[in-house]
Amino acid sequence: MSLLKVVDLHTSYGKIKALRGISLEVNEGEIISLIGSNGAGKSTLLGSITGIVSPASGKVLFEGKDITNNRPNEIVRKGISISLEGRGILPRLTVEENLRVGAYSISNKNEIKAAMEEMYQMFPRLAQRKKQLAGTMSGGEQQMLAIARALMSKPKLLLLDEPSLGLAPNLVKQIFQMIKDINQKGISILLIEQNATMALRIANRAYVLENGIVKLSGTTEHLLNHSGVKKAYLGEVR
């Protein structure tokens, strides 16, 4: 069953059309990658799904219900969580406070505690740094915190905007391993990445965005062997 369905979505900033009719689908338990160059509309698409920017036309369906133009706070309660580009952590709050803010939509204290314990199990590095200010951690740790914080609201679908941005290659590998582990817990993932090779390797299916439209889509095996994708995104030299 499809968890998230985007139907013919158009979004524009004034006269500039950022999305020109995007349709895509995320099924339960899948990892979907969205790849594309700068300005292809990847972040705008995430923004339109989560209610940060309002689309001009088209529909966003989550679990069969129309969530187009819902406010961000309503979207979070429905089970979509996002980890923002550039991490978006709160630098002057401690790690623990960051996680608490992430659990904002949950009011049951025991549930928050359990979720926090789970995050500390998953990311032991964060457990060590509970009382440290988030802004003083390394880039990799901040990215882990951003993901952990997004998971605190117990989402069914996790949207990740460039989780590998500005990280060293070995950290990128670790982050992608974490994404896989999170997926194994039954959380569907929509991943936006510039690092196309890694993104295609962990995903089930992928969409290639170009100038606000879906240029290509399909299983990752198919895309990895596609000559156009190879040339444009994977950097194959002939």
Binding site: L90, V101, P124, Q128, R129, K131, L133
Partner: protein, 343 residues
């Protein structure tokens, strides 16, 4: 961020002795009237109390939520005038009068908060500045109610059980202390609650806050209302203390003074509000021999602050020393996974 690296570390010192320091401060406050201070000194101390309340009020908006207001003299004026008018014209007691004043300033906070939702930084400051000017203009021109530029005279002091509170019997002082404690506890409660975390999240990163399910617009308005209500209460108390108010009591200088206290003391802290108002209210008094030069010194103090202690005199990032919890280390050893080493 620069940290103070002098011979002694103020942050460590204050943190280490926070309980004895707090107890001494409290005892000092309670016993102050029995130290034989003159009425002039007691009056300055009460003014410090009023400005601490005002700073605590602005702190909710500026310190917690990161919205800089230059118009808090407007809320201060509304609180003072509503209380005074109710006490003078309707002859009602201070407590209900101040309560109604708080409700009205709260509504004004809502009215100012609604149109400024999308504004931050300089733009918001300018709108709030305009708000204070509008309030001043209304006070000057709405003569049947506010008595125009002549101001309101003979505002009665509050009385409890037949005893009039005055400066001489120290009633006004203790009444100020009670109000100050109530406001302080309210501020501490807000800071430690879910609401406080939401406000802080908005201050740090509004987009990220909204993405975590915080309805940012609602919280920003709530911060405006809370801030206005506290400022209004301080205004009501001020009106009964000085017993004469006019439009000149609530000028732009007052807004700036409140903001300076918040910044000098340390935005977002509570201890800083007390310390900042002590400094900025006492300074002009002890610097009287310097005559007009005192404003030069005052400016220099602010410039040096910005250079050497931008986080405020008593403002710092965290009071908790960082420690690696033992069980977390063991847990990491056991699982080994996902730990990023900084090699």
């Amino acid at each position: 961020m620069e940290h103070f690296t002098g011979k002694f570390n103020l942050e460590e010192l204050v943190y280490k002795y926070r309980y004895p320091l707090g107890a001494v401060f409290l005892l000092l406050l309670l016993g102050l009237p029995y130290l034989g201070l003159s009425q002039y000194v007691m009056r300055i101390i009460i003014m410090i109390g009023i400005y601490t309340m005002l700073a605590l009020g602005l702190n909710i908006l500026t310190g917690y939520t990161g919205l800089v207001s230059l118009g808090h003299s407007g809320f201060f004026a509304i609180g003072a005038y509503v209380t005074a008018i109710l006490m003078l014209k309707l002859q009602i007691h201070f407590i209900p009068a101040a309560f109604i004043a708080m409700i009205i300033t709260g509504i004004c906070g809502l009215l100012l908060g609604l149109p400024t939702l999308r504004l931050t930084g300089t733009y918001l400051s300018i709108v709030t500045l305009g708000f204070a000017e509008i309030v001043k203009m209304i006070i000057m021109n709405w003569e049947p109610v506010t008595n125009g530029t002549l101001g309101l005279r003979n505002i009665p002091r509050p009385s409890f059980f037949g005893i009039d509170l005055t400066l001489a019997n120290h009633g006004m002082y203790y009444f100020m202390l009670i109000l100050l404690f109530l406001i302080t506890f309210l501020c501490i409660a807000i800071k430690k609650s879910k609401l406080g975390r939401a406000l802080h999240a908005i201050k740090e990163n509004e987009l990220a806050a909204s993405m975590m399910g915080i309805y940012t617009a609602r919280y920003k308005i709530l911060a405006f209302i809370l801030s206005a209500v506290i400022t209004g209460l301080a205004g009501g108390y001020y009106a009964t203390l000085v017993s004469y108010i006019d439009h000149n009591s609530f000028t732009f200088d007052v807004s700036i003074l409140i903001l300076s206290i918040v910044i000098l003391g340390g935005m977002g802290t509570i201890r800083g509000m007390f310390f900042g108002s002590i400094l900025l209210i006492v300074f002009p008094e002890i610097a009287r021999p310097l005559m007009e030069w005192r404003f030069v010194v005052y400016g220099l103090v602010l410039i040096f602050m910005m250079r050497f202690r931008p986080q405020g005199l008593l403002g710092w990032r965290t009071t908790l020393p960082f420690q690696v919890p033992v069980n977390a280390q063991e847990r990491q050893k056991r699982s080994g996974k996902h730990g990023i080493s900084r090699s």
